[in-house]
Amino acid sequence: MEELGFTVVVSGATGKELINAGVKAAVDEVCLPVKVFLGHSLALTSQCDALLIPRLVSINRKDYICPKFMGLPEMTKQAVGAHPVLIWKSEQNSDLGSLKALPLDIRRNFPRRQIKKGLQKAKTTFRIYHGLLQQGLFPDEAERILFGAEKKHRAEDRRRMGLIGHPYCLYDPFINLDLVRLLRRYGFKVLAPEFFTPRQIAEEQRVLAKPLFWTLSQRIFGAFRLLCKEKVEGVIYLSAFACGPEALIGELVKKEAKANGLPLLQLDLDEHSGEAGFVTRVEAFIDLLNRKRRLNCV
């Protein structure tokens, strides 16, 4: 975008007021991430001329993200009212990085070469970013490195905890009530689905009788199986309340957990989650893991 001479305004961290605004704007039954998204959009309307909203239909062949992502631009339009919304569409089986995906207004008003150059640059950055994620960094850390910070070396923790769930639940410290930091404080190294390569994850889908058609669910299921092989101590599954695919995937993950004898804690998140109850449950889970370790040592 900056290559084209726009000034990009990105919304800040998620906060209480932002969520409240989103909750007001949304239909009751949508999941928390959509409410957060609408909150961010509303916060941005006062700061910018137009919103650029992606329509993520599918990023792999025959897969979808989720119906709510497909309708996201329309839901946002409904929420922000008259504010102009540009839709960055990724049609079925096509790539977000292609020229056709950009909104018509942008495609018409800028020379083709300039757009292509911008896209190329964006793609390179994207690739570096994903490389960093697969090294075991969290998105906020990876972003800092991308924009020039030094890579910090953390002491390698001995205990490892898996964390699975949709990316927007895992990496937003407000939504997940800072779970990652909590786990780190307890001396765990946290492993998330984005640390594995897509190929590894695709490999794990073979055990299913019918391939899953939600990309993110594939990632959750594949990552869970990989985590089992990685010999993590336990896995925490963060899911958003009223998330459609997760209701079914949870069942698959539970069965895998039983088969592998891996402790699993499933936490549902919504806008009413209170930190105290959340922390208590995580701590109880960690206590159980400690106990299991002690018993195994004896």
Binding site: M70, G71, E74, M75, Q78, K210, A242, C243, L248
Partner: protein
């Protein structure tokens, strides 16, 4: 093989015919009842949508009655329906039931699964017989849907509602038993005669309300609290485009009936230009259709946590504002109670009547002022 299948409204009539016609024995689950709800919500994941739970309850009850196989449809997503069968199979196997799952996947998906299911289904009878069974089932779907439309039209106009329901049920039973294609029409005519005899005096135009939403919830009267009958008895004509025959035409015979899809896309384009899975787009299209045809109101029925319908639901205010079309969204799950639904329906109908009164006693919808050259 003793085969069972999930219930969806009147679907059991043609499917039963088809299974029996193919030389298998149909073991229909008992009609969806309280125990089905209980079994379903006990064993299904908590966040799964209501149709999933009811299907599961149906299977368990049918397996208890001695079914050996389950006939189920698949899908390609992104609606959860496409993955129902996989999870249900896992749950039923964990419960210790023995059965084979015959999964009718669409052609775009796992063809092996489809061919396997078809081979098992067609192994009993010769090809001409199978074709005859298919034809009988297809004709039954069509006549049942026609009868249903007729009943929806006549019920609010009938003097004796109980009598009307009785003749409708008789019609359904006789269609269920019928073995010859050519005699199906006679049953419909018989019902029409008895409904016409029952007609009351016309007291002016009736309220016309369209039912839209998720197909299972719209079509299964035992899950949506007999919405159509309730409305009919309150003196409202229920319009609904969605039906089993329309679904079959669109999804299985889409090549011969391309107009369904075209119509959906055409009508929903201004509000929802993208496919959102399930019946999300159809919901918006039907709502626009209701607005254009000046119906009095629209009732959207959806199961709790249904993803495509939530997207549609967040767009309904926009459509509603454009066409001045009141809309009531009924979200139903296993905890919904009939009293709550009836109260909401009554309130909604009161609003519609009031609106009509305001617009003039004999208006035929919210756009009457326009007709006068306003």
């Amino acid at each position: 093989m003793r085969l069972t299948f999930p219930h969806m409204g009147l679907l059991s009539i043609p499917v039963e015919t088809l299974i029996n016609g193919l030389g298998h024995e149909a073991v229909p689950a008992p009609p969806t009842n309280k125990r089905t709800f209980e079994l379903g919500s006990k064993y299904a994941p908590e966040g799964a949508c209501l149709p999933f739970k009811i299907n599961l309850g149906n299977y368990i009850e049918a397996l208890e009655r001695g079914a050996e196989g389950i006939l189920m449809a698949g899908g390609l997503g992104p609606c959860r329906f496409g993955y129902y069968a996989q999870i249900q199979r896992q749950i039923l196997e964990d419960l210790g039931y023995q059965f084979t799952l015959l999964l009718l996947e669409p052609l775009g998906g796992e063809r092996r699964e489809l061919y396997r299911a078809l081979r098992v289904l067609l192994e009993k009878v010769a090809f001409p017989q199978a074709v005859a069974a298919l034809r009988l089932a297809w004709e039954k779907i069509r006549w049942v849907d026609r009868g249903n439309a007729l009943f929806r039209y006549y019920l609010p106009r009938c003097k004796d509602k109980a009598e009307a329901s009785k003749s409708y049920n008789q019609f359904l039973e006789s269609i269920r038993e019928e073995k010859k294609v050519c005699r199906l029409k006679a049953h419909l005519q018989k019902m029409e005669v008895s409904l016409k005899r029952n007609l009351g005096r016309e007291t002016g135009p009736l309220l016309r309300v369209k039912i839209i939403g998720e197909i299972y919830m719209v079509l299964e009267p035992r899950v949506n609290f007999q919405l159509e009958k309730l409305l009919g008895e309150m003196g409202v004509e229920v319009v609904r485009e969605m039906s089993i025959s329309q679904w079959v035409e669109e999804h299985l015979l889409g090549f011969f009936y391309p107009h369904h899809k075209r119509r959906t896309i055409l009508l929903s384009e201004p509000f929802l230009p993208s496919f959102v899975g399930g019946h999300g787009r159809e919901t918006i299209a039907e709502m626009v259709d209701a607005g254009v045809n000046r119906l009095d109101g629209v009732i959207q029925v959806l199961p709790f946590t249904c993803m495509p319908e939530i997207v549609a639901q967040s767009i309904t205010p926009e459509v509603s504002a454009v066409y001045q079309l009141p809309v009531l969204s009924l979200v139903i799950d296993e905890h919904s109670a009939e009293a709550g639904i009836i109260t909401r329906l009554e309130a909604f109908l009161d609003l519609l009547r009031r609106k009509r009164l305001k617009m003039g006693a004999n208006s035929d919808g919210p756009f009457r002022r326009e007709q006068k050259g306003w």
